[in-house]
């Protein structure tokens, strides 16, 4: 147990140091949500991978299962399903209250998030 914790902490420390060094240049570290994105073969898997990313990065502004009142942050259930380019642009560069995510989320990951948003927050 102690050894496992040590390895765990070592990984954490490495990630922390890398992230702290340059926020913009470091590729996204291997982790569970990213692995899920890379391994997703079907649309259902992509939606599931998107949900994991959503919980980790988006939920604290856009609500549990994408449900929020939509008056302070965007109600993603209302996002037009045929405007992927707008979604990608907003997530990548930020817009209004939305912060930019290009240094955190890869194109594959934003695709997975889009699959989750298109599915209406379901998986």
């Amino acid at each position: 147990m102690t050894r496992d914790l040590g390895i765990f902490a070592g990984v954490i420390l490495t990630v922390a140091v890398l992230s702290a060094a340059t926020l913009t240049d470091v590729p996204a570290a291997e982790d569970a949500p990213r692995s899920a994105v890379l391994q997703a073969q079907t649309e259902a898997q992509r939606i599931a991978a998107g949900k994991r990313l959503y919980v980790q990065n988006c939920m604290h502004c856009h609500g549990l299962n994408m449900v929020n009142p939509g008056n302070v942050t965007f109600d993603l259930r209302e996002f037009p399903r045929d405007e992927k380019a707008r979604f990608v642009e907003s997530v990548t560069r930020g817009k209004n209250n939305m912060p930019p995510w290009r240094d955190v989320l890869s194109a594959d990951e934003i695709d997975a998030l889009w699959a989750y948003v298109r599915a209406g927050g379901q998986s």
Partner: protein, 582 residues
């Protein structure tokens, strides 16, 4: 030139406030005439300076500290607005923040000027007219909100010696000239890349600017800092989670302490006579207890600190090894109440864990702890050890099972501060009435990203009917003398007066006044957005004013999924009220 060394010296808070005035001369050998000339030159400065004596005085023409006094009782002896006259209470002005985020700031008032903050600006407003005197914007990197868990907010400023002190979302502490809004100094207190942010109002205690940090949901390690008011020099840092060699470090396994949470995101209270600051600490990280076996000191605790050094005099832990996000950051309200017939200096604290605590603040000894809301995770508190007597709900949660836990992870009461009225002996708190569907899941640590270890998608269990109650609580029993229900839970602070009133706000935008003895709702006014602010009152030119910020967008708005709030527009502003002529 010599005369210029005769300057305003902050009053020594260790002495009784009546002992001496706030002016001192820097050189004893100076001739009286020169000293007088120096004072004359400094007269304009004196008008905008605040001494420690003023901060401790509690006089009613000002609101100089978070909590309306170092004790944070949020009680005013003013009586002009009372049970009989409150029906004549009307708005006298409204000041727009030009902001659509949550407005949780407690305004300060000094010599006819209101100082109020948002996440992106600090403002000085004429208290009589609502005219803006100055506005200084706060710029932070666009990426900053990524690491702010529960609303893009700021909870207010501190004032001392002609300066305003505030924190910023990107974890800086800044000092502004209270006259002009010009920035005087800035110090970084945390790295946003690691998840640190700041939302709390600083405390100035014994001349030291004391600040805490946010970020436990991102795997930060909490601390409290002391800063020199004049220069911003860093005086001390006390970590809430002890490092190697510090007392309590052995309550953490392996390296878990490095990411252990225990943040300090609400302002502490201060007892000048005991020279002690009382500061609550937040939840351990992650929620999943399997990651961090042990009591996890000093999370979910109160720390008694020396303001000059930051050293810990004593601690009391409310929820050891908490799985349920039961932060203990909420106000440590200082009062003197009778315990077994003896007037006793106590801390009153309504913990998120659902128990109302009474502690002896001279030594941290537990006096009483009783439930003030519905709960199922513990059946009581052992008064000898202070430890909760946990039920199967807590044990199952630790084992990874799905449980419904009362109160929810937002607590029996969240951060919105309660008030205490010495005339009624009651504490007035906005309490929450719903549960969490709780299940621990693995937590993936990645610097600057959400580090929770709980399946948030499992959501809440809401009862039919009210999700919150304004309660008038007897501190020694936890029982309510009266309760005012609300379908939408209230997330506003409360304020109580000698006029026999309790003021608070609702998510529907109503500022409300209740009878402090009976709970009858005597007055209301619709402010235009949901109220998450902290009402204050003061007297100026013979007129008693009440002010509050409005603007929804905090933790309940974001996490509850309560779509009824869609009918409440966003939009932040400050309202001021006074009695209309008869």
């Amino acid at each position: 030139m010599e005369a210029t060394i005769c300057h305003l010296t902050p009053y020594n808070a260790l002495s009784p406030p009546s002992a001496e005035a706030g002016f001192r001369c820097g050189r004893t050998g100076m001739k009286i005439a020169v000293w007088a000339a120096g004072l004359a030159l400094l007269a304009p400065l004196a008008a905008s300076a605040q001494t420690a004596a003023e901060l401790a005085s509690g006089e009613t023409s000002s609101v100089l500290t978070y909590g309306m006094g170092y004790h944070q009782q949020r009680y005013s002896p003013l009586e002009q607005i009372n049970k009989n006259t409150v029906k004549r209470l009307v708005p006298v002005w409204n000041y727009s923040f030009d902001d659509n985020r949550s407005e949780e700031s407690q305004p300060l008032v000094y010599k006819g000027v209101i100082y109020v903050t948002t996440h992106n600006a600090t403002m000085a407003v004429d208290a009589r007219t609502g005219n803006q005197i100055w506005k200084t914007k706060v710029n932070y990197a666009a990426a900053t909100p990524r690491i702010v868990c529960c609303g893009i907010i700021n909870r207010g400023a501190a004032i001392f010696d002609g300066k305003l002190f505030r924190t910023t979302l990107d974890a800086n502490v800044i000092a502004l000239d209270a006259k002009s809004g010009k920035e005087l100094w800035r110090q970084n207190a945390g790295d946003i890349k690691l998840g640190y942010s700041m939302t709390m109002a600083p405390l100035v205690a014994a001349g030291v600017v004391v600040t805490g940090v946010s970020g436990a949901e991102f795997g930060t390690r909490g601390y409290i800092d002391g800063w020199e008011a004049e220069t911003g020099n860093h005086l001390w840092r006390t970590y809430t989670v002890p490092g190697p060699g510090e007392p309590g470090h052995d309550t953490w396994a392996g390296d878990t302490w490095k990411y252990g949470g225990g943040t300090t995101w609400i302002t502490g209270s201060f007892d000048p006579q005991l020279n002690t600051v009382y500061w609550g600490t937040g939840n351990p990280a992650p929620f999943n207890t399997a990651v961090r076996p042990g009591d996890n000191l000093h999370t979910c605790s109160v720390l008694a600190l020396d303001p000059q050094t930051g050293s810990i005099k004593w601690h009391f832990q409310f929820s050891p090894n908490s799985p349920f996000d039961y932060d203990s950051v909420a106000e440590m309200l200082l009062a003197t109440i009778e315990v077994n017939g003896v007037p006793t200096k106590v801390i009153l604290h309504a913990d998120r864990n659902g128990f109302f605590y009474v502690l002896d603040r001279t030594n941290g000894k537990l006096i009483g702890a009783n439930p003030y809301v519905q709960m199922n995770w513990a059946s009581g508190i052992d008064l000898e050890t202070g430890r909760p007597i946990e039920t199967d709900v807590a044990r199952k949660a630790r084992a990874g099972e799905l449980v419904t836990v009362w109160p929810s992870i937002l607590g029996g009461k969240n951060w919105p501060p309660m008030s205490y009225n010495p005339r009624t002996g009651l504490a007035y708190a906005n309490t929450l009435n719903f549960a969490s569907n709780y299940q621990a899941v693995p937590a993936d640590y990645k610097a600057g990203q959400w580090y929770l270890g709980m399946d948030m998608a499992a959501g809440w269990t809401f009862p039919d009917g009210p999700r919150g109650y304004l309660k008038a609580i007897d501190p020694m029993t936890g029982k309510s003398k009266w309760e005012a229900p609300s379908d939408l839970p209230r997330f506003s602070g409360t304020m109580t007066t000698a006029g026999g009133l309790v003021f608070t706000g609702g998510y529907d935008g109503e500022l409300q006044a209740f009878d402090a003895d009976t709970g009858d709702k005597l007055w209301k006014f619709k402010t235009g957005s949901g109220i998450e602010g902290q009402p204050i009152t003061w007297e100026q030119d013979g007129v008693q004013y009440v002010a509050v910020t409005t603007g929804l967008g905090g933790v309940y708005t974001l996490f509850s999924g309560d779509t009824r709030l869609a009918s409440v527009p966003a939009g932040g502003s400050l309202w001021a009220f006074a009695l209309a002529p008869q």
